[in-house]
Amino acid sequence: MTAKTLFDKIWDTHVVNQIEGGPSVLYIDRHLIHEVTSPQAFSGLEKRQLSVFRPERTVATADHNVPTINQHLPIDDELSRFQVNKLTENCERHGITLYGLNHPYQGIVHVIGPQLGLTQPGMTIVCGDSHTSTHGAFGSIAFGIGTSEVEMVLATQCILQLKPKKMRITVNGQLQENVTPKDVILYIISQISASGATGYFVEYAGEVFRNMTMEGRMTVCNMSIEMGARGGLIAPDETTFDYLKGKEFAPHGKDWDKALSYWQTLYSDEDAQFDHEITFYASDIEPMITYGTNPGMGIKITGSIPRLADIEEKERLSFSKSMQYMGFENGERIIGKPVDYVFIGSCTNGRIEDLRAVAAYVKGKKKADNITAWIVPGSKQVEKQAIEEGIVEVLEAAGFKMRQPGCSACLAMNDDKIPKGKYAVSTSNRNFEGRQGPGARTMLASPLTAAAVAVAGKIVDPRTV
């Protein structure tokens, strides 16, 4: 038998049919949907007079376009209300489980999947959302799809996909204190650029990921798409199995034993070939922050923004445009820059460990007067746990505002927008122009850095304050 990568092992067992010289027909084990990218897929289905082929394999939630206050009231914004209601109607009509607003399982689609045990090793998982890559943390092939593909999955439980190339990113060694999974992934993207992994599926390997918690691994896999990768995955191990054991939709009893013996075969064989391999060293990684308008524009928090002269000539126009948008000068240091907003949340860093990290830092401190600090838990369950653990109390005492679960200011589809020209340090994943609201200036960082910034009122190194 030839040596196989983890990716190949999963892919190959899901190919229903191979079109000569074309894409593979890939069977999808788990399909997650939300209100924004599904309505047109359902209407397409209806136009063709089809029903959902395997409704039990699809799970829905409302997250992108929901308010984060007064979720018990009807949604104010008419279009948003219509869209969320449409999801409810579609799910009811087609027999799809929906964790809608006010359901104890509601939350950001990539937070609830793992939390409920819907996400399991060896699965193929898709969702009409690019950060579906998050689920790769469990050793599954998980990737974002467009609405036409959502329709394909609803209609046939399959999609057509060209097999991507494979890349392995290894990070060896031990991370320094206060260097977090978010810093690791921001570092990797800054090294290989926002398009450095386009066309590839990435496997993360090495000591750093082996030592990471499941939530940390999710943060890393989540941002795979920000370097262009189709997805990212990490071989499942004891950490994965411990996390899954007992989760509501994880296998139980005999099924668990059977699943476990399969999951234990999910790793890249020793001689497996990757199309591309990159190795980094943990000792090179420090707390990171972005200064520009794509996630590849990251630097060490103690570092300086590059000078125009250091940028390749054909990239200078884009770079200058970015600097102008951010209101930064070439070559400037980032430490000490004033900040107006701190946003803690999103499918990258809106989990309980993230909230714990923030609470541990701010306990007994107060946020700076110039800062508006929002904490948006990734799901109802995260919210509940944060209340039970006393985290909410600590954060509110420090002057942070707790909101209700949803995507919120990560993409600013609802009212949670950063005003034009204001600076936000955000634990989310995208710093594109206008991502957090028209004219908003986003700097991506870890929850720990964001907490330190909230207290200091400006950019600070979380290790020295």
Partner: protein, 197 residues
């Protein structure tokens, strides 16, 4: 359901020499509340195209009457970011049939193909040639020949070959869509399911 067919096309092009044009620029999130596929073209590049008072920003290329055509030419890594197919719908609805760049984000590329928009990847050097051709003459024309997989830069006479998956090429030329194909192999899918458990 039938897609727009593309076979050959002679047209002028609109230059957007910016890199990493992400889907939040192509169609900002606040326009994703619609539940139909139509009408996104009017908000294509909304925040680059209109100011806060909804007035056209004169120096943005879509507001410049000098440039027109059914091809959009953009810098490296076009369509990065979210999986929103609304980006492809906006481009198609605005009237572009082809997008040329030196590099496309994966999801955008498949969304474009699923909506009858042809993404053409060219080398950095060719991309520069195209930008220069348009700069020298905004009315410069290009001839896209999908059956022969070539892009003719008529200003220079250069015929540039491009790659496209043969299956996807057939779909575009004939207006086929993937769901029709998947439905046609439903018995295979059922057999796969039966064998899996």
């Amino acid at each position: 359901m039938a897609l727009n067919k593309i076979s050959t096309l002679r047209t002028t092009a609109v230059p957007l020499p910016i890199e990493n044009v992400d889907t939040d620029q192509i169609i900002p999130a606040r326009f994703l509340k619609a539940t139909t596929r139509e009408g996104f073209g009017k908000n294509l590049f909304r925040d680059w195209r209109y100011d806060n008072n909804d007035q056209p920003i004169q120096d943005f290329v879509l507001n410049n009457p000098t440039y027109s055509g059914e091809i959009l030419v953009a810098g490296k890594n076009f369509g990065c970011g979210s999986s929103r197919e609304h980006a492809a719908w906006a481009i198609e609805d605005y009237g572009f049939k082809v997008v040329i760049s030196s590099f496309f984000a994966d999801i955008f590329k498949s969304n474009a193909l699923n909506n009858g928009v042809l993404p053409i990847t060219v080398s950095e050097a060719v991309l520069q040639t195209i930008f220069t051709a348009i700069e020298n003459n905004p009315k410069a024309t290009f001839f896209v020949d999908l059956p022969n997989q070539t892009l003719l830069i008529e200003a220079t006479g250069e015929a540039v070959p491009f790659e496209i998956n043969p299956y996807k090429k057939e779909c575009l030329i004939n207006g086929y869509d993937d769901i029709d194909y998947l439905l046609s192999i439903k018995s295979k899918i059922e057999a796969f399911e039966a064998a899996k458990v």
